[in-house]
């Protein structure tokens, strides 16, 4: 405790505070630009930090890490193009809300939920370091597989209006994710002999294709007209405290998912936001409102996204194990700053560890302040004609696909995904389920197979402990419930089934 307090004293110096503020501001901007990501910004800035102390360098890095989390959802809400992979879920309710003329409120919900998620996960992470470290370490592949599978099943309820299309989308996503070299068998899958496919299809390319390029194609009719989204009010309107308290369930569930899934290496915020969204939706008294601009549908993923920042710190600082792409780069940055990440970091560089935690809390607070200022800039830009916005979205989409591997091939993938995504979306296909399959598919596959490798091929490992048996039962119950509801609806619809469409943000507007 005294170490943490003295770390706060160190980090509270003007220089460190300035660095956190600068990093957070940069993070918000980087996050808001589709295609630019937090690991990318950290690695580009790394050489500049060589002359700083490790703690000063990490003040900037923590700022970027936290800032990109919220920045990503600005673009989700205003353009329905997520700025970061984890912001994809916020499109579902953020964009419809913006279309209803409540963009500033949607941004306010996102900012408040992010700050709540970030701060509460920080408190839990700091208060329960040993517990979370043990959770991070002792989670087994079978547990993670069931968790991700439960998430995938829950999310299938998004597409209740058309389960077939939803499942098709998920399967396409799984197919995309299965391309490449299979480490468990040592063989190549669906690479057609092309070495460029050997490492699989870059997820960044899939995301900017389906959400960046496809959205520009689909919204081309908006070119020439000023956006009506934000005509009512410029700036961010924060939701009232009473309203937020009423929605405690959404941010509590979101933050908890964030911290625990963030702590389990290998899933990360890209997955946690969907699980949080699906859980809050299924708990809601009014699930039909989701996908049409429901504030809880913004609060759940946003609090979960920033909630991972506290969770990922624990395995990174106590074990030297990265929880996501950003923390992997941070571990590299520590080595280059002369530190040794791993179990000994806490004892050898305790000041640094507590300093990182202190700067993380500051970053979550600065994020909220800077968001209030920066949102004006974004909204002013977006009030302009889309013809001045879309070229930039396309440019950044291409940069994003290229920069993942610094190679041109993923750019072709992105363009192909953009065209396919545009055609599917025009026909009312829930494109978001493809992205979901591509996110959760590899996590499920890897952990199922590793779990089976542990158990020497015995499938009973997935019900081998009480938590697993419960989780497996929940999954089975969900599938039965959804199938039952689906059958009932078919019966009700009788001989003339209405032309049901899945809920996509685009369609809500129509």
């Amino acid at each position: 405790m005294t170490e943490l307090l003295s770390a706060f004293v160190t980090v509270s110096s003007p220089w460190h505070l300035f660095l956190i503020l600068a990093g957070t501001t940069l993070g918000l901007l980087v996050g808001a630009l589709p295609g630019l990501s937090s690991p990318m910004a950290i690695i580009v800035l790394l050489p500049i930090t060589y002359s700083m102390t490790p703690l000063a360098a990490f003040c900037v890095i923590m700022g970027i890490y936290v800032g990109t989390k919220l920045g990503g959802s600005f673009a989700s809400i205003l353009l329905r193009t997520p700025g970061t992979p984890a912001a994809a879920c916020t499109v579902l309710d953020g964009y419809p809300m913006a279309q209803q003329g409540k963009a500033s409120l949607a941004l306010g919900y996102a900012a408040m939920a992010s700050a709540i998620g970030g701060v509460s996960s920080w408190i839990i992470a700091v208060a329960f370091v040993p517990l979370i470290a043990s959770l991070a370490l002792h989670s087994e592949p079978a547990d993670i597989a069931l968790l991700a599978l439960a998430g995938l099943t829950l999310v299938a309820t998004f597409t209740r209006a058309s389960m077939v299309r939803g499942l098709m989308g998920v399967l396409i996503g799984l197919l995309i994710a299965s391309v490449g070299y299979d480490v468990q068998d040592g063989i190549e899958r669906y690479t057609f002999g092309s070495p460029y496919m050997a490492s699989g299809i870059s997820f960044a390319a899939v995301l900017v294709g389906f959400f960046g390029i496809a959205v520009v194609l689909a919204d081309v009719d908006m070119v020439g007209k000023g956006s009506s989204l934000v005509s009512t009010k410029v700036g961010m309107s924060l939701p009232g405290l009473r309203d937020l308290m009423k929605r405690w369930r959404a941010w509590t569930i979101g933050s908890l998912y964030g911290i625990f899934i963030g702590a389990i290496p290998g899933v990360g915020s890209d997955g946690s936001v969907w699980m949080a969204y699906a859980t809050v939706r299924s708990q809601s008294k009014n699930p039909e409102a989701f996908g049409k601009g429901e504030p809880d549908g913004i609060i759940a993923p946003e609090s979960s996204n920033n909630g991972t920042t506290g969770g990922t710190m624990i395995p990174m600082l106590t074990l030297g194990i990265p929880g996501d792409g950003s923390t992997a780069v941070m571990l590299g940055a520590m080595i280059l700053h002369g530190l040794q990440p791993g179990v000994t970091l806490m004892s050898s560089s305790g000041d640094f560890v507590y300093g990182i935690l202190a700067s993380l809390l500051y970053a979550n607070i600065f994020m909220l302040i800077m968001a209030l200022l920066l949102v004006r800039v974004f909204i002013t830009l977006l009030r302009r004609d889309r013809s001045s916005v879309f070229p930039f979205v396309l440019v950044f989409a291409v940069i994003g696909a290229f920069a993942e591997n610094n190679h041109i091939f993923p750019v072709y993938i992105a363009i192909a995904c953009g065209i396919v995504g545009y055609i599917l979306e025009k026909r009312g296909f829930p494109v978001v389920t493809i992205v979901l399959g591509a996110i959760l598919g590899p996590i499920i596959e890897y952990n199922v197979r590793l779990g089976l490798a542990y158990s020497a091929g015995d499938w009973m490992t997935f019900v081998g402990s009480w938590p697993r048996a419960v989780m497996a039962a929940v999954i089975v119950a969900l599938v039965i419930r959804e199938s039952w509801l689906g059958l009932q609806r078919m019966r009700q619809a009788g001989r003339n089934p209405p032309n049901e469409k899945a809920i996509t943000p685009k369609e809500v507007s129509e």
């Binding site: 087994e140 050997a198 591997n405 542990y454 020497a456």
Partner: protein, 317 residues
């Protein structure tokens, strides 16, 4: 990357604008591009960035790290093979990454498409166990495995990899039946080993070193000599040679250039890289990273890669 690319573009633009010519000046007169076929943040990337820092300090030049990852490492290697052999495009990769991909995968290039500049950092494989497992030596582990055939596990990164070759060779040598579990990377395997979910794991030095120093894990064998490792207690771990196996497996990180480099350029680049690899900056990095850097010349480095290829070919048969 964008910022560095910007610098590069800006400096080239400046050269054109002033009409000055970069020729006939000392190497390096323009930014050196160092291609790393891995994402930023991993071991090879850290070594490359430390070496780049040392080269910059030795020469006042600029080194741009370009992480051309993915694509089964093909795009990164091809970017160097297809570059002009002028000494301004370098590849930094591990010996076993090059040799194993040549043997286990189909690659649109061979070692002959490269000129070896030299090896800068030797990182052998090592077999690590959790201290709570009770295995203190290789014999402890193999005896336990012999007593319980098919029950003990041995973690590797992927199948058809250098670490699997080492694992199989050891299993064959002792006639034991262990289950080889692929983890898709060192971080996942590290977690599993610390949690006691796998009985032993094959890593590259220095992954797990802090845990070994803290007494949480122990080293039961090296894929080569561990004499350069910072932590003295592991240095006398048995090597393949001690078991009568005639190979060494590790990832000797080194620098390569495209084939067709003139002797003058090769001499200049080799001198600079050697100076950087032997510099205090790089030595200090080695100390924090886990083991002292070891330099070998270009021809010796190519021999390291070739002998690994022989080992993998023998294993694949």
């Amino acid at each position: 990357m964008t910022f560095k690319t910007f610098l590069k573009t800006a400096s080239i633009a400046a050269l054109i604008a002033t009409g000055s010519e970069a020729i006939a000046q000392d190497y390096p007169s323009e930014p050196i591009r160092m291609v790393v076929p891995w994402k930023a943040g991993g071991g090879t990337d850290s070594i490359a960035r430390a070496l780049a820092k040392a080269i910059e300090a030795e020469s006042d030049g600029t080194v741009i790290i370009e992480n051309i990852s993915g694509g089964g490492r093909v795009p990164g290697h091809l970017a160097v093979v297809n570059a002009s052999p002028d000494g301004y495009t370098l590849l930094l990769n591990g010996s076993s990454d090059i040799s194993s991909s040549q043997v286990f995968r189909e690659m649109p290039f061979t070692l002959d498409d490269f000129t070896c500049v030299g090896g800068v950092y030797s990182a052998p494989l090592w077999i690590v166990v959790n201290s709570e497992s009770g295995y203190e030596t290789l014999e402890d582990y193999t005896a336990a495995a012999a007593a319980k055939p098919g029950e003990l596990t041995l973690g590797v990164t992927t199948l058809n990899s250098p670490d699997e070759v080492l694992g199989k060779a050891v299993a064959e040598k002792f006639g034991i039946d262990v289950r080889i579990i692929p983890f898709n990377g060192g971080a996942n395997m590290k977690k599993a080993l610390l949690a006691g979910q796998v009985d032993a794991g094959i890593f590259y030095v220095p992954v797990m070193l802090p845990e070994v120093e803290a007494g949480l894990a122990g080293v039961i064998m090296g894929g080569g000599s561990l004499e350069n490792v910072r932590y003295e207690e592991v240095r006398d771990a048995p090597t393949p040679a001690d078991l009568g196996l005639e190979f060494e497996i590790g990832s000797y990180r080194g620098v390569l250039m495209p084939a067709g480099v003139s002797n003058e350029v090769l001499a200049e680049v080799s001198a600079l890289v050697e100076a950087a690899a032997k510099s205090e900056i790089f030595a200090a990095f080695g100390e924090t990273f886990g083991s002292a850097p070891k330099w070998v010349s270009g021809p010796e480095y190519c021999d390291v890669i070739r002998s690994e290829m022989d080992t993998f070919e023998a294993s694949a048969e």
